[in-house]
């Protein structure tokens, strides 16, 4: 029997995508462990306090970097390559180069994180990895992005659709942002607080212009593919896309409200943040109007359930983000742990949940093996529950933190921070739940990618069990 065109494409993508998914999973676990250590250190300052490599500040930063570059980067590569290849109907080419760059990317992050833990951190948000690994990160990314663009350029149909716009934009924006930040922070550094403005802009844009479009593009692909129906009000998608392109780079700087920077910067950020309701409404309409026509199917199909959880989370988090960018609210919550709420909401509740769905949809196609429904379901419920607890704790804790911090009569540690302590405890438990959930995900994924070692392990262990019994 001759293979269908899809099967040929899937086979061409198998090695590369499996590599990226497998390494993304390992980074996810590393980030989960670091997240737990950081949360535990907030509840007990003496936890691992004698170890200089694991101060709270270093662990926190390493966790964010492992999460965004390790898990985010690898999973973006996997999803980008597969979705672009499928949409272009061409095979993935340059596999050796892709694998080579993938290894480089992961090595660079590993050295970067070790550098952070060893005390060579930079003062730039989301670019804390030592400057020496930046060129490696950039080159490996450039090779992968180039080969992804080659796939797109050799596509069979000239017309492009929404998932391609978003994914390509994410692919191109990251190196542009990276170069801008590199130039402004290291090559031609400005003085005073200007690098802080730039690094804050970079750190936030990374989420808005790299992770967000990727996840939106994946949702635009997965929802119609699985449901077998066109996106409702698809003509709005192009408007939503250009709104994000035009507004998002401006909207992220409202975090500087009242800070020692030019006053128009946070002001412009606030205005643009409010304008972001348009693209959010577009994406939300597109996804949810389509999904809710066939809600039974969404519920019963786990990859789709993950994706829809992510899109709902996107809508909610973005609207909440708009509220928190209003100057009066921003003054209150600016320096509180509400920042953790925003980060985890976007990177976990939205981006990661969609990527989980993509991976669960993609792997059976490329490996030909099914992942057991129970395991996926367990992963979904623990993730959904864990992230909900985590976000609620950060939201309520953040509001408490922000409001109490505005009362000069309250002593800092014995009143303000003590009142936030219970929420730190809750986040610690939430990170344990999420850690288990992510472990299940990684086992699910590794089992289908590397079926043999697991099979023989299981066989030998069951043999041993049989013998002892």
């Amino acid at each position: 029997m001759k293979d269908t065109a899809e099967q040929v494409i899937d086979r061409s993508a198998k090695t590369v995508v499996s590599f990226f998914v497998a390494s993304a999973g390992l980074w996810l676990l590393a980030a989960a462990l670091l997240a737990y250590v950081a949360a535990a250190k907030l509840t007990d300052p003496f936890f691992l306090s004698s170890c200089e490599f694991l101060t709270y500040g270093k662990v926190k930063v390493a966790q964010a970097n492992a999460f965004v570059y390790g898990w985010g980067g690898n999973s973006i590569f996997a999803a980008t390559l597969w979705i672009l290849a499928r949409l272009s109907q061409v095979e993935v080419r340059g596999r050796v180069m892709l694998l080579f760059s993938g290894v480089l990317w992961n090595l660079a992050i590993s050295f970067g994180l070790l550098g952070i833990l060893d005390g060579h951190m930079n003062a730039h948000e989301m670019l804390e990895m030592p400057t020496v690994v930046w060129p490696v990160l950039f080159i490996s990314y450039a090779i992968i992005a180039f080969l992804a663009l080659v796939i797109h350029r050799s596509r069979k149909h000239n017309d492009t659709i929404a998932p391609q716009w978003f994914i390509l934009a994410s692919l191109i924006w990251f190196p542009a942002l990276f170069l801008i930040a590199w130039n402004g922070l290291e090559i031609n550094p400005a003085r005073g607080t200007l690098p802080s403005v730039l690094s804050l802009w970079f750190g936030q844009s990374l989420i808005w212009l790299w992770l967000t479009p990727m996840a939106l593009g994946a949702a635009y692909y997965i929802i119609p593919t699985i449901l077998g129906r066109a996106i409702d009000k698809y003509y709005l998608a192009i408007f939503g896309f250009w709104c994000i392109a035009a507004l998002a780079p401006w909207s992220v700087v409202h975090h500087l409200e009242g800070g020692p920077v030019p006053m128009w910067i946070p002001a412009i950020g606030t205005v643009m943040s409010i304008a972001m309701i348009f693209p959010i409404a577009v994406a939300s309409t597109n996804f949810h109007a389509t999904a809710f026509k066939d809600i039974d199917k969404v519920w019963n199909n786990l990859p789709l359930r993950f994706v829809i959880f992510g899109t709902i989370s996107y809508t909610l988090s973005s609207y909440i983000g708009v509220i928190f960018s209003l100057p009066d609210v921003a003054k209150l919550t600016q320096f509180s742990i509400i920042n953790e709420f925003h980060f985890n909401q976007r990177v976990y509740g939205f981006f990661s949940m969609i990527i989980f769905g993509v991976v669960y949809h993609m792997l059976p196609h490329i490996t030909g093996k099914e992942i057991s429904k129970g395991a996926k379901s367990f992963h979904f419920w623990t993730s959904a529950f864990g992230v909900l607890i985590l976000l609620l704790a950060y939201l309520i804790g953040g509001l408490t933190h922000g409001v109490l911090a505005q009362q000069p009569s309250l002593d800092w540690s014995s009143s303000v921070i003590s009142s936030v302590q219970p929420y730190f405890k809750i986040t610690k438990y939430a990170f344990i739940i999420l850690g288990f959930s992510q472990l299940v995900f990684v086992i699910n994924v590794w089992k289908v990618i590397f079926p043999n070692p697991f099979a023989c392990c299981l066989a030998s262990s069951s043999e041993r069990k049989g013998k002892t019994a």
Partner: protein, 400 residues
């Protein structure tokens, strides 16, 4: 949309606009900021010999910035004081949200100019710990800082700041240059006995950096926050742990009064001989007293609490059993001064202000007029009649 080059051009253009504004635009506006005099003449020129601010940090402090960065302190500590102002009907700007200043984190908002000489600007975005932009203004001495760096919980029991024991050499006995760490009971057995630490060079760098963090000068673009006219009664709003002078924005003259009171008070505290108080002989330079014999002043509610009680003790002395920081002492303290009881109102005010704001204590200053009021109220008391703890606790209002 179908041509990848046009598409890339489009999405990079939108990004380029933001880059032009935030990077190029902001740089054109602020990029040539340089140190400036505190006040400018009407034509924006400065006096020829005016002192310029901000000043460059000492070399040790610059190295400290590297250590501060490497340890990730910026994850919990911001270095930016915010101040929100609105214009009233006459166009005069009034402060509406000065909680950072009221908390004592600075005397004005931080401005871009404050940071132009720093190699690593660490504004930070989360305050799990207090803001440190003006930490150098808090008059904490090096020993306090080292104790806090080694183990914050020894000074601030509720602190969740992680200890940094790896910056210190720890021993059970005092050594040359070692600093005593107060024992505390909440955090494990090994912390109940006294320990002594010798700071490493890295710890000294960090301390130098923290002490160098201050925006204690005015800038032409922004003067200090002026005292509010209806400054409220300090006693009514006095709050544990935050000295009045720093909680309420005060003109710099009041700040000078305080620092002169602190230095005069230190002299009274340490001087043994005529004109001095000789307090140091029993309460020790560390303010920790000696176990069993002499109660500590550091962290003591007797010191940080009610001023009247404290003034009474300073005038007549104290005898009998007294409980300080949960430990009972039984001894006698004569009225300080050599000869006994000879300190003036000013000296008592100075030394009390000093002990209330040293070794981690921070409470409101004591003024000479407060001392003379108390002295007048008990003028019939026999000069040799020392107070007892019970008498003071029942007579005076409870410690705030």
């Amino acid at each position: 949309m179908n041509n990848i080059f046009k598409f890339s051009f489009g999405i990079l253009t939108t990004l380029a606009f933001a880059w032009l504004a935030f990077v190029v635009g902001a740089n054109l506006q602020y990029g040539d900021l340089s140190p400036e005099a505190e006040n400018l003449e009407d034509d924006d020129s400065r006096e020829p010999d005016a002192e310029l601010f901000p000043k460059d940090m000492p070399g040790l402090a610059k190295q400290g910035a590297e250590e501060y960065l490497a340890l990730g302190c910026v994850s919990c500590h911001t270095q930016q004081v915010r101040l929100f102002t609105t214009k009233d009907s006459e166009g005069k700007s009034i402060v509406e949200g000065g909680m950072d200043v009221e908390r004592g984190w600075g005397k004005r908002a931080s401005m871009a100019r404050d940071y132009v000489l720093q190699d690593h600007v660490m504004l930070g975005n989360t305050r799990i710990g207090p803001d440190l932009a003006n930490f150098g203004m808090t008059e904490k001495d090096n020993d306090w800082l080292h104790r806090h760096l080694f183990e914050p919980q020894s000074l601030v029991p509720d602190s969740i700041c992680p200890p940094s024991p790896f910056l210190y050499e720890v021993s059970d006995d005092p050594r040359d240059g070692s600093i005593a760490i107060p024992s505390h009971e909440d955090h494990g057995d090994e912390r109940q006995k006294s320990r002594y630490v010798v700071p490493s060079i890295r710890a000294n760098r960090i301390v130098a950096y923290l002490k160098a963090l201050k925006q204690d000068y005015e800038l032409p673009e922004l003067p200090f926050v002026q005292a509010k006219e209806e400054k409220s009664d300090t006693n009514a709003t006095e709050t544990k742990g935050i000295p009045d002078w720093i909680r309420y924005p005060v003109p710099s003259s009041a700040l000078e009064d305080l620092s002169s009171q602190m230095s005069a008070g230190k002299e009274v505290y340490t001087k043994i001989g005529p004109g001095g108080g000789g307090c140091v002989t029993c309460h020790q330079p560390t303010g920790l007293g000696l176990p069993i014999a002499f109660p500590p002043l550091a962290g003591s509610d007797w010191v940080k609490g009610d001023k009247e009680r404290l003034i009474k003790i300073s005038l007549f002395g104290l005898t009998g059993e007294i409980e300080v920081n949960g430990v009972k002492f039984n001894g006698a303290m004569p009225a300080p001064g050599i000869p006994l009881g000879s300190l003036t109102d000013q000296q008592i005010a100075d030394v009390l202000t000093f002990v209330r704001n040293s070794w981690g204590n921070s409470a409101s200053a004591v003024s000479p007029s407060e001392v003379s009021e108390v002295r007048a109220s008990i003028k019939d008391r026999a000069p040799t009649q020392m107070w007892t703890a019970a008498e003071l606790t029942s007579h005076s209002k409870p410690a705030q």
